[in-house]
Amino acid sequence: MSKRKITKTNVPVGECISQVQEMLRERLCHQRLPDRPEGVEAQHKHLLELLKRTAVHGESNSVLIVGPRGAGKTMLLRCVLRDLLEEKEAQKSLLQVHLNGLLQTDDRIALKEITRQLHLENVVEDKVFGSFAENLCFLLEALKKGDRSSSRPVLFVLDEFDLFAHHKNQTLLYNLLDISQSAQAPIAVVGITCRLDVLELLEKRVKSRFSHRQIHLLSNPTFTEYLDRVRTQLSLPDDFPDDKFALDWNASIETLCEDKSVEDVLQRHFNSSKDFRSMHMLLMLCLSRVSVAKPAIKPADLLEASRLCLADANANMLHGLSILELCLIIAMKHLNDVYEGDPFNLQMVHNEFKKFLQRKSNSMYNFEQPVILKAFEHLQQLELIRPVDSSSAKTQREYQLMRLMLDHSQIMEALQKYPQCPTDVKQWAMSAFG
């Protein structure tokens, strides 16, 4: 605090807004690491201890970080690594290999990547190995060379760990865990996954070599804590270039979070998902509406952002259908009512539509079958209807069985919002049976 005696002021407002955008976007869009991971202090401590034992004392280990999407698993590991490397000794000796199940899709690719990340391409050159295990051991052995008699510890991070379980024979997993268990070389294997049932994916011989240490990230904050998080995510730090602006901004965030309508909106989001990532998306939409002309986040911004997040995409698409296509959807809805959800084909839909036209319509006239077929195909292209089985390529198009991928409430909602929907069409949709 003492350093900040000289108050920094008089930065033009445009410059301040630019700074706000830059700082907050790093948090909301770029996974900037927090100084201290909120709400997962225990997990942080646990993992730090474990990795320290490998980095400093050369012990081998394996651990899984398990938690839902966006819960902060990757963030936790990166925070721990940052803090671990503050220790001189760890920084000097620890080697890191980062793999991701999305990228290293088989063990050959993975091995190539390990070699590269350990800077051993030159050592390996064109050597031929009898087995995967031999190759991996060679790599770890190669690290021993030089002035040390003992190996340098290596940290293996396997993000999307469950995907590695699909590799043939789980060779990579088996070998890594085998080394970590038999302590041939000091390695730590950290798996990150969102699958709670991940252990069931492992073969017996792989599973038995795993330490069964798991760190769970199932943080379940109370609403007050959630509200606090929103506040901290939006607040400006002490070292913001303009003190006065930062004070005003932070005060406005306080006011924002106390607003009743804001609280309601946040409560709704809290009830559907409590993780940081979905909160970030909501807040990013708010932040994007901040400009020089409007240098603060207002309750209206949050309401609008929430509206965008919660919008029903199917209803949005129905809004843009032609009236003919909408009529076909209504006919399908009626068929679903009558036949209790059995699949239908175009011929039946057209027939249902004709019944409506005969009864009374004056706003619509009958179209030729090919025009109807084209509309039907458009609906299929939009995946609002789907063929029951894809193998029926030989069936005539008008007899192919289909299912409607919408539920009644979505159709009804779309109907309410449909621009200039003729009343007779509306009534037809409302009537229980066609």
């Binding site: 955008q21 976007r25 996974q31 400009s291 949005n316 698409m317 032609s322 003919l324 090919p370 084209k374």
Partner: protein, 445 residues
Amino acid sequence: MSALLHHPGYEEERLRRLSEQLPCRELQAGMLLSLMGQPHQYSYPSVFIYGHRSSGKSHVMQVLLKELELPHATVSCVECVSVALLFEQVLLSFFGGDAASLLPRSPSLSDFVRVYRQQCSQSPAKQTRYIVMEKAELLRDADANLLPALLRLQELVEDNVTVILLTEIVWDRFRPNTGCFEPLLLHFPDYSKGELQQILSRDKHPSYSAEFYSSYINILLGVFYSVCRDLRELRHLAALNFSKFCEPLAEGKVKETDTHKLWRNMEPHLKKAMQTVYLREVSSLQWEQMQQMEEKENGAMRGLSAHTHVELPYYSKFLLIAAYLASYNPARTDKRFFLKHHGKIKKTNFLKKNEKTSNHLLGPKPFPLDRLLAIFYSVVDSRVAPTASIFSQISSLVTLQLLTKVSHDDQLDSPKYKCAVSMDFIRAISRTVNFEIVNYLYDFL
């Protein structure tokens, strides 16, 4: 009036040019602009833009990225038949041809990310880099990891990069089973009728007044709006039919301002267009030729349909009729229709009223060969011996796709068939051999 776009990161002049090119999409452009922020600021890692065909998704993105001169790569998933092309195109656009050539022969995602990281550590992004994926729904057919990897590319390559997916399918149909990085969803709403009118009217013809062209568009929308809202398709239809609209004017029959007369002249013509060009039954060129012919022949225009031109041998016609009957009649009714002395079958038993739907709604049912032959011999009046020619005629009907073979691997020796022609078609065929087919159809009893 277009509401001007504002953003501190860009010059007013540039933004004005921009909004001029984006009529009726100011709101969406403004929204995107504010999400993108100033060029050096981070944007959300992945944005998913969905909306109907021709709702301006690609157009808005291209105009924004080009006019503001932001680094970007546009990839059409239709054109990228292999992921290699996709990777190459991205590396090429961001780092140049040398970078693209660093990829191995059939590159994996791992290779792509490795090369990308190497390159961007040499030339870090000073401005957000954008990857725009057109027709993103096709990504679902690619390698299962591709979509989830693109959605979190920013995290994987540690660069200031944003991936934008454009599609007409809703996000729910993309999400993988084990979840993924959720993109920010943006919807591009359809154009209203008024907006379509406004946009289409901009294409006015140089030798006619704007009002005249606008009234033409008004008539066009009056006919097509209820079946089609696709701007691109409407624009195409407008261009194709404008000369017809101008005709009475050129002949000096009508004045430009007499919209009612012009409408009376035009509407039937456009309705005809709906049955033909709109359905792609004829090509645009054919349509233009037909319009000229029509002038010569004084309006004797027939719709084209491939089926009406098929000529079949005599027995083939009966085979096809028999096939139609076998496909649309329940097998248990064959006795009633085709046995000369069927004794007393009570009509009430025969007509099961609780059968919910007519066979003509459900479509053709498969039937075995012997049933086809039985019906065939009973409907054809003169006696024919079961020669090989009957079988070869059946197989040529299959080749013509008038019959389809329903293959069941387990019963190779007893194939089943389905009739694949419409009611209108079979009636036309029946008429040529004086067969009253309606009398033999269960649905029309």
